[in-house]
Structures are given as C-alpha cells and as structure tokens.
Symmetry: C2
Subunit: 112 residues, 2 copies
Amino acid sequence: MRRTYLGEFEEVVLLMVAILDGEGYGVTVSQALEEHTGRIVTFGTVHNTLIRLEEKGFVQSELGGATAERGGRRKRLFRITALGSEALQEIQQLRQNLWQLLPPHTFRLGSV
Amino acid sequence: MRRTYLGEFEEVVLLMVAILDGEGYGVTVSQALEEHTGRIVTFGTVHNTLIRLEEKGFVQSELGGATAERGGRRKRLFRITALGSEALQEIQQLRQNLWQLLPPHTFRLGSV
DNA sequence: CTCATTTGTTCGACAAAATAGAAACTAATA
DNA sequence: TATTAGTTTCTATTTTGTCGAACAAATGAG
C-alpha cells in the first residue's frame, strides 16, 4: 500500500508543528490543537502521530536542553522539514483546485 | 474511535461527488479522481468510501434507470447532501484559518 | 542525600479508515 | 439463451487515529 499521503489528523498536527515554529512538543501541540480546532486528544495520540510524521520525514525532532522550569523531563522538540512543507502545500493546492470545480449551487441553502 | 470527521480520502471523494453533480458512481468517481488528482484506486476502494460517506449522511444514493448502453448493471448514483457540503465547508474553513497562522518563513526555500 | 512530585515521553492495544483484488450481478444483444 | 461488458459487493490486509497507562528524568523538600 506504500502510502505517502498525509492522513487527516496528521495534516492538522503537521500544521500545528509548523505554527509552533520549533516550540512544538507533545504538550504544546495538544494545547494548540485544542485552542485552534477545539479538538481534544491525549498526549499519546499526538505523540504517536508525531512519531509517524517523523518516520515519513515530514518533521524532525531533537531533545531540548535541561529546562529552567521546576521539574520535568527534557522535551522532544519538533520542527517541520522541507519535505513536510512541500507535502502541506501540495495537498492544499490540490484541494484548492477541486474547489474551483464545484458547481456553484453546491452551497446554496436547501441544496438537499 | 467514534470518529465523525472526514478522513483524507473521504474528503476528496466527497468533493468529486459534488463536482460530478449527480452523475457520480463507482466508475465515474474513480475516473474523475485519476483525472484530477493523478491518484489511481480501484472501484472497490471508491465504493467502500462512498458507502461509508452515505452511512455518515454526507451523500445520498439511488439506482439509476436502465441504461441504453451495451450491457451493464444499473448504476448507483450519488449526490452530496446538505450535511455533506456543510462538513466540506467547515473543514476547509478550519484549514484556511490555520494557514493564516503559519510563520512566513515556513515556505521559504531551504527552510530545512 | 533520597525520594516524592512534577512534567514529559514511550509503549501496547485496538477501532476505524484506506486500499486492493476478485467474486457476483445484471441487462443488452448476437 | 448464452455471452459479455459494465457495475456493484464481498473479503482481506495495511495504515491511521485514539486511548490509557507505564516509564523516565529533573527538582525541591525533608
């Protein structure tokens, strides 16, 4: 099946990583996700997705240095790769094109 | 997993159904898909997705009348429902908002 | 110095979606 | 009426999406 596409959730998470611009890790991504999309998911969910994105080469991660804050394990910070932003652009472009092709009445009230 | 979101592929297929404007069924949707996205999938793949979309209430189907063509079983024609077009708009709107938040340098050459 | 607490990460499991391939139907026509 | 082209449906497998809990490290309190 050799898929290379971005899944639905993967895409949103990738977008969040890009938005967080280097400050993204399990916790911040979950928060941003909730804040911007209203979607609530567990860390595990986010982290698994992050790992899968990394396997696909869409993000890169590294352990952050020791924090100054109280307690806490070292963060694994994620950032988007060139491949990742290409994938994002590609899929967005494709959808944009498809939207152009929609018959105008599709979104009139009471279309069904 | 109690999902209500549109999956990645589901969304593209839903878009195709809307574009085909009442003429969409297994074969035409696969063709349109290939034509517009370059993505090649089997009828079975498309049909399964169509059925799932119908279960979710995003499309509606009915059997077409007897064809005049050489043979062939009656077609099951699909069209998008109001709920379907709402879902489409909602997810597109959300992504549009997220794109606004992307830091400008995300798409500069050599960003990684 | 050691240990409970805090803040994170990772693992294991499983449901749903994506996908392929082939079987089963159906109706027009030779 | 047997053939056959055009479609739908069934079955099986891989990926994604999702959760819950186990595990790990840094710090401050005693």
